[in-house]
Symmetry: C2
Subunit: 211 residues, 2 copies
């Protein structure tokens, strides 16, 4: 049973979707060990407590990033977390943090990366005039919205979409995508080749043995 | 009846798909007025002649870009071309050329722009580990692979894809996408809002009159 640590700064709707998937046994082999937030009054913390999950605020305002991250890490280790899910965690984590959980921190981004990284991805897609967008679940590395991609889902951009309608439609897909991506990771059957995350049965021979 | 000018450098498989769509009356209101290539022995030129279409090589090798583009433009005007379709035209066109046909030059690119612009888009997508790619039909502006998007189609990147298998699958979608995009343009019913290309019925009131 893998132990998940959830990091959030707001409602944590992706956290709630993961919790539901576990509760309804759509996502097997995982439990949520702890929910942390850098924002004291994040609604997601209250939701976690209602679900009976350990939930802690570790406020980041006014603190050095390294100090804050060290406290977060200590708490994650204390709860024996195997895998971290960022769920609307609005803070860049330090390289030390990433190194402590190599390819074991997941994030979800509301675009088809590498298109539209950074803030306001849905607005970016609309203003660019993209006809399709979506969401990407990826491992976190030391560059923003850049790590190895676990899964992507596409969402049509409709001609009458606003930022709000497009964001809402992408969010529905995020809720499904995050659990599906977690299932891939938890299966232990996927491997990283270069930047490609593939099922071991589809993996090609390494360069050394390739024809 | 709008008159199309096709520019190609190779086989021109997208040109052949457009020609077929016109012949089979899937694409109405357009005819191919002339096919031009910067490559003397481009197979697409021979195909054009077999179809009875005016086809000319205007070799670019060793010539100044401005001189070559001027000769291309003269030929396009001579054939009273309304709309230009780049179909594997492996040459950057000059700003003067773009200005001569504002939002009347179409190109197709084998990725979901703005992801993976430039050469070898399919290889870029594979090496990035994207789980989805596709193709984009767009108007040509003065930046490479940047103009307003008319239409995009998505293609799943499979775990066992190679550059060849992914490229072949995207190409099938290109052949459909180009004609569909042309139909949108030829309909006269689409307008540009910012960078968004939308049916006039879906267009929102201009900022001045928006609530």
């Amino acid at each position: 049973m893998k132990r998940l640590g959830i990091l959030l700064s707001g409602r944590g709707s992706n956290f709630l979707a993961i919790a539901r998937a576990i509760r309804e046994q759509h996502l097997l082999g995982a439990k949520i060990a702890v929910v942390l937030s850098n924002v004291e009054d994040a609604p997601g913390l209250a939701s976690a407590r209602e679900l009976g999950l350990p939930a802690f605020a570790i406020p980041s305002a006014g603190r050095k990033r390294a100090d804050h991250d060290a406290e977060m890490l200590a708490r994650l280790h204390q709860h024996k977390v195997d895998l971290i899910c960022l769920a609307g965690y609005m803070r860049i984590i330090t390289p030390e943090f990433v190194r402590a959980f190599p390819n074991r921190i997941l994030n979800i981004h509301p675009s088809l990366l590498p298109a539209f990284p950074g803030l306001d991805a849905q607005r970016q897609a609309l203003e660019y005039g993209a006809k399709v967008s979506g969401c990407t679940v990826h491992f976190v590395d030391q560059e923003v919205d850049h790590g190895i991609i676990i899964l992507q889902k596409t969402v049509e951009v409709k001609e009458d979409d606003t930022v709000e309608t497009l964001s809402a439609r992408i969010l529905e897909h995020e809720h499904v995508a995050y659990s599906e991506a977690l299932a891939r990771v938890l299966s232990g059957e996927y491997i990283v080749q270069g930047r490609r995350y593939v099922h071991r049965d589809a993996a090609r021979p390494s360069r050394a043995t390739a024809r």
